[in-house]
């Protein structure tokens, strides 16, 4: 996994609440056996008309936001299916950070496995950042993972919480599986004790 770098730039405002993973990447694009290439279909049914032309007023089609690396979103972003295609599509499009008041649990975890930082902030902070985001190229949001801050255009800093282990993996681009396999001895010993206690499992 690529190491997470701090991000500074335009943020795309998506104030709609409950943006679900079916919206982020509709099911017809789940038939791939690869992780790459899904950015072209990110938010497909919101972003494109049936004939393939762009929906002009969709945020990521507006000139200011076409290369946005940050999304500021309404509550409960990423609810619904467990499809990791959602963060794959976001990442492939170039999104590095999503900011919201809340995220669905599975989506939140999936982001960290793919170099994307989901930032949870209180409603007041998200409201300010949403307003900032709506100013397009006239605003710039900065996300600093090391210091766990998001800065609005006027310099106001908002601190966010993130699990230390997840942060460590993101900053260093670490592969979970490799880390877990270092603890193989613990798994082995758990497994043999457990097999004795619960032989039916």
């Amino acid at each position: 996994m690529e190491k997470f770098q701090n991000v500074s730039g335009v943020a795309a405002p998506m104030p709609l609440v409950n943006i679900d993973t079916d919206m982020i990447i509709p099911k017809q694009f789940l038939k791939t056996i690869k992780r790459t290439g899904l950015g072209a279909n990110l938010f497909d049914e919101m972003r494109f008309n049936r004939d393939g032309s762009e929906v002009t007023d969709f945020v990521l089609n507006k000139p200011a936001y076409r290369d946005a690396q940050i999304i500021v979103a309404g509550d409960n972003f990423g609810c619904g299916s467990s499809r990791e295609h959602a963060p794959w599509a976001l990442g492939d499009f170039g999104v590095k950070v999503v900011i919201s008041t809340s995220f669905a649990d599975i989506f939140y975890n999936n982001c960290f496995k793919n170099g994307i930082l989901p930032v949870v902030l209180p409603k007041e902070a998200v409201d300010v950042l949403m307003e900032d985001a709506e100013r397009g190229s006239n605003a710039r949001i900065t996300v600093d993972l090391e210091n766990q801050t998001v800065s609005a255009t006027d310099g106001t800093e908002y601190s966010f919480e993130v699990d230390e282990f997840k942060k460590h993996c993101l900053i260093n681009g670490l592969d979970d599986i490799g880390l877990t396999l270092q603890k193989a001895a613990s798994i082995d010993s758990f497994e043999s004790d457990y097999a004795a206690k619960a032989p039916w499992v």
Binding site: P15, D75, I106, T180
Partner: protein
């Protein structure tokens, strides 16, 4: 004496293989269910790193999301090329890595969350994961079951563990008994109506109370299935005699002395008196009405007797979301839900594709006809459910009424196969998600119980099952 524990605490504690100082745990996984859509990249990852599946004997694979449900599906040409490639990839991966496998041609094939319990893979006290959010279904057995992403699928394949931090405990108690016409589906939708789709985020829910105890195992699976729709990581129901009875004799359930040993352990799977819950919700069973969704989020749910709400009735970001949902659904505030006309009925899915669901729908349909011009479809949750329904004469009731009688799969619940709504079509559906585009581009979904779906097929509109004769 140790502090009182919840059911979730007990299952969690029994599966921690390693705990780091910051509380990050490696949770040992007892059953890993795998389907074709969220697994190919995980197996590819194993190949690229030269890793093996650590416990193939605990890993069960079945294709369900993509597979056609038409009778001629044995012919691979009935699948689109990309679907066929995904299913073939699962065939190959299951064989190469030595997993338990139920291919499309096997009568035991079906929706992964129906096959697991049916075959006795899912048992009380276990940890169960699958690259699918509706894994919550298995919580009905008092097993800690939740959906994971593909990276986590790969992690479980390679290590048989999951990196987890413990969630908070939530108790959802449904007191008293349900009234006639009210089902497990109405319970689970009503709970989401109360909590909202984010209300369960960060929690594992334990459902309890008399109304839950009175449900069959299949009803309990329906309740837990939609825990994820309330945002919860998992839903749990403490096992009881009904659970043990359901498990006994299933192909992969323990036998002989192992059964006796298991039973002794399973009887300890309950929440201790005075155990701490971080959040408690209580709903009176008799207050729950036959329910239906009107919007594009499962929290947009109301009793069938209600009227379509106004965006102004809501606050915050929900105002715009409701405005958008009503436009998408083509509904007018103030109109009655029971006046909403539909053109499609889908009975099936991991929420409501089991034999009791088909019995409930068939009981409504017996001697009746689907309204002219409607498209109605039954997709059994597994080949075995299908066979049993044929044996019980239910299939004939559906066929006589004018329903299509399909082969098993996920089908129109998520419309990854050709079973889809056309633009603007409106479906009464026993599935679990009413998201925009879920059942087809610009398709409109109303979630409800199997009996309500059957009644809607006859009348051509959303119908209060209590008024239906």
């Amino acid at each position: 004496m140790s502090a009182p524990k919840t059911l979730y605490d007990k299952i969690w504690d029994a599966h921690v293989a390693h705990e780091a100082e910051d509380g990050t745990c490696l949770l040992y996984i007892d059953r890993h269910l795998v389907h074709e859509v969220t697994s190919p990249q995980a197996f590819e990852g194993l190949r690229m790193t030269g890793r093996k599946v650590r416990a193939p004997e605990k890993t069960i694979a079945v294709p369900d999301h993509n597979v056609p449900t038409t009778l001629d599906r044995a012919n691979a040409a009935t699948m689109t090329e990309d679907s066929r490639i995904q299913v073939e990839a699962l065939d190959t991966n299951a064989k190469e890595f030595g997993l338990h496998y139920y291919p499309v041609s096997d009568v035991r094939q079906g929706i992964v969350h129906i096959v697991g319990p049916e075959q006795g893979w899912t048992l009380p006290g276990m940890t169960v994961v699958c690259g699918d959010s509706h894994t919550a279904t298995h919580g009905a057995f008092g097993s800690l079951a939740h959906g994971i992403g593909t990276s986590e699928v790969e992690h479980v394949l390679a290590t048989q563990t999951l990196i987890q931090k413990k969630s908070k405990n939530m108790k959802v108690e449904i007191t008293g008994s349900l009234k006639p016409g009210v089902t497990a589906k109405d319970i689970t939708m009503s709970v989401i109506g109360v909590t909202g789709t984010a209300g369960g985020t960060g929690y594992v829910i334990e459902y309890c109370g008399q109304a839950i105890r009175e449900l069959s195992m299949e009803g309990r699976m329906t309740v837990c299935n939609m825990a994820i729709e309330g945002g919860a990581r998992a839903g749990l129901i403490a096992p009881d005699e009904k659970t043990f009875e359901y498990c006994k004799g299933r192909p992969h359930a323990p036998k002989g002395t192992n059964w006796e040993m298991a039973l002794t352990a399973w009887k300890e799977l309950f929440t201790d008196e005075d155990a701490h819950f971080d959040k408690v919700i209580t709903i009176k069973g008799e207050d729950i009405a036959p329910s239906v969704t009107w919007g594009t989020s499962p929290e947009d749910v109301l009793p069938i007797t209600a009227t379509i709400p106004n965006p102004e009735d809501f606050t915050g970001g929900k105002v715009d979301a409701v405005r958008r949902a009503l436009a998408y659904m083509g509904l007018t505030p103030g109109s009655k839900l029971s006046d909403v006309e539909i053109d499609t009925v889908f009975i099936g899915s991991c929420t409501n594709g089991r034999i009791e669901d088909l019995r409930a729908a068939a009981a409504v349909l017996k001697g009746k006809k689907v309204k002219d011009g409607m498209r109605a479809m039954v997709v059994p949750g597994s080949g075995l459910v299908r066979a049993q329904a044929e044996e019980e004469g239910l299939a004939q009731i559906f066929i006589d009424a004018g329903f299509e009688w399909r082969m098993a799969g996920c089908s129109m619940c998520l419309a990854m196969n050709p079973d889809q709504l056309a633009e603007g079509e409106r479906c009464a559906s026993t599935s679990n998600r009413n998201f925009e585009g879920r059942q087809g581009f610009k398709g409109r979904t109303h979630l409800l119980s199997p009996a309500m779906a059957a009644a809607a097929a006859v009348t051509g509109k959303l119908t209060d099952i209590r008024d239906f004769a």
